[in-house]
Homo-oligomer: 335 residues x 2
Amino acid sequence: MVAERAGVSQSAVSRAFQPGASVSEKTARKVRKAAAELGYRPNTLARAMASGKSRIVGLVVAYFENQFYPEAIEKLANTLQENNYHVLMFMSWDETEAPETVINDLLGYQVDGIIAASVGMTDVLTRRCEAAGIPVLLFNRHQGDDKLSAVTSDNFSGGRKLAEFLVQAGHKRIAHVAGWDGASTQRDREAGFLSGLAAHGVTLFARSCGNYHYDQAQEAARVLMRAPVRPDAIFVSNDHMAFAVMDVIRSEYNLRIPEDISIVGFDDVAMSAWPCFDLTTVRQPTNRMAEETVRILLQMIENKDMVPCRTALDGPLIIRGSSRIPVTTSANDVG
Amino acid sequence: MVAERAGVSQSAVSRAFQPGASVSEKTARKVRKAAAELGYRPNTLARAMASGKSRIVGLVVAYFENQFYPEAIEKLANTLQENNYHVLMFMSWDETEAPETVINDLLGYQVDGIIAASVGMTDVLTRRCEAAGIPVLLFNRHQGDDKLSAVTSDNFSGGRKLAEFLVQAGHKRIAHVAGWDGASTQRDREAGFLSGLAAHGVTLFARSCGNYHYDQAQEAARVLMRAPVRPDAIFVSNDHMAFAVMDVIRSEYNLRIPEDISIVGFDDVAMSAWPCFDLTTVRQPTNRMAEETVRILLQMIENKDMVPCRTALDGPLIIRGSSRIPVTTSANDVG
DNA sequence: CTGAAAGCGCTAACAG
DNA sequence: CTGTTAGCGCTTTCAG
């Protein structure tokens, strides 16, 4: 035991390893020395049990198909690590049976907080976790009722920006390939987009749904392209699906982007900047989202009875080559 | 307390929640009933401390840029979950300072085992973990000395298949865009590839290095394409870099793939099947790799003094449209 | 099959 | 600032 070797009490050892505990530098040094010699390292689990804080955050995710999630998770994990927390991963791949199991596991591990980046289970999850006094924070999604805190980007405003951009570029037949309607991102992005169109007296030309999946997005694109009159611009609800739409348009219909048709997406994942896609999109500020998520969650952990808050971070429109350029009203027009 | 409510001892409750413990069905039922009424759930952390088994596996990863990793991690996490283990994520983004920190955290959490899917730290990591008696398993990489168990695909054989395929397709100037030389995947794939070429008396036409990064792979492609004589086929060490190479070749040099130049990769990530890339590649059998990894790791956990084993799973050549088709020797030639 | 008792390794008051 | 004393919630001998 380290305490003996250092010639101090067990408490002294404990305190020597706690950030701001009251220990004399002398004692601390003795302890560190003894610890080093014995290869001792505090047992996080024992500490968790005694203190009631596990410093573990449960991260519930469903799938990594959409690149946005790996990117976000990497940042969340990093930020958490910087704050001396760690991520316990829970895959909730099966939307029917999984929630029950996942929640039991989550609760069993005494996680200090939960980040839910997954869909389809949050209602159940929430109630059970609140009952257990565990803070839950929604990442990249929110729920109808304002009971749950959530961090998202400003999907409505993003959708609006895209609409205005397309209208100003002179597009007349603007279509939408939607994601899954059950997701708040989809509803917000579409609402913002429609509102942007409406502001210019434009109505949506056509709509089909890809449910945020690559394959379904391909099919959704075909639906639009098979119509007697084709759209001249498509807003696809996320970049991942936009790639599918672009591929179909180019390889199956031999059309050029943006000459024949403009495509815009949402997320600005790394791939969107690749020459092959060069996609105009709205950037989700992943870094800031992750930082805010961690900041708020840690705050909730410290202060259990916080009022739920909803954070929507604004992201910029990133204009690239997949869309026709708006007719620029020269600045000289003014004078 | 559940024990009281069920009118049994604490031990009985404990046993009722353990898989194969000796409890009468009657007692178990009483306990389950009381537990349900009280919303009780065993505390995994307390259990971990008392039993010495945390049922947590540390997963050390470096980055998700290459799609292969998210795909693999998803499968690893799922498989582990099916076995009642969970994944504690450790990002080792900073290769200098991180290892020390990561290892301390890892050891502090009393993980039962470690899966290292990351590079650059395994030497240090290994020794310390072995000292602590924690099994370490390398995923998608191995080390020179045979001290460490590892699960990979058969990278040598995969490289060889690609070489033979390109030679048979009639390519004369075959180049290689390499990944990071410090990675065993790179060394094995290249060795297999060279051996495949050699078997047909062919030597490598040119080589440049992309270090497994998209940006560097673009530059590596430019190096090859700027040469006075260009290659007519390129083996890129992974799909992720192959996308970069294809993009450069098409968008900066206006060449067609595969008419002007064939491209082949390695991994078969989901994107490789997208029409836009349609990449010929060697599939890493991610599912089987994840299953083997978990199987072996759990075995190591149960049986601490196992001899290290190295598993290399064979993956098929997936022929798609990014490469010229080999001249088929008609089956009728035989007779 | 079951209960009693003794910890797992640490933190958290509480005196001093 | 430091040591003492209790546990955190479970598993585990060991009797019975």
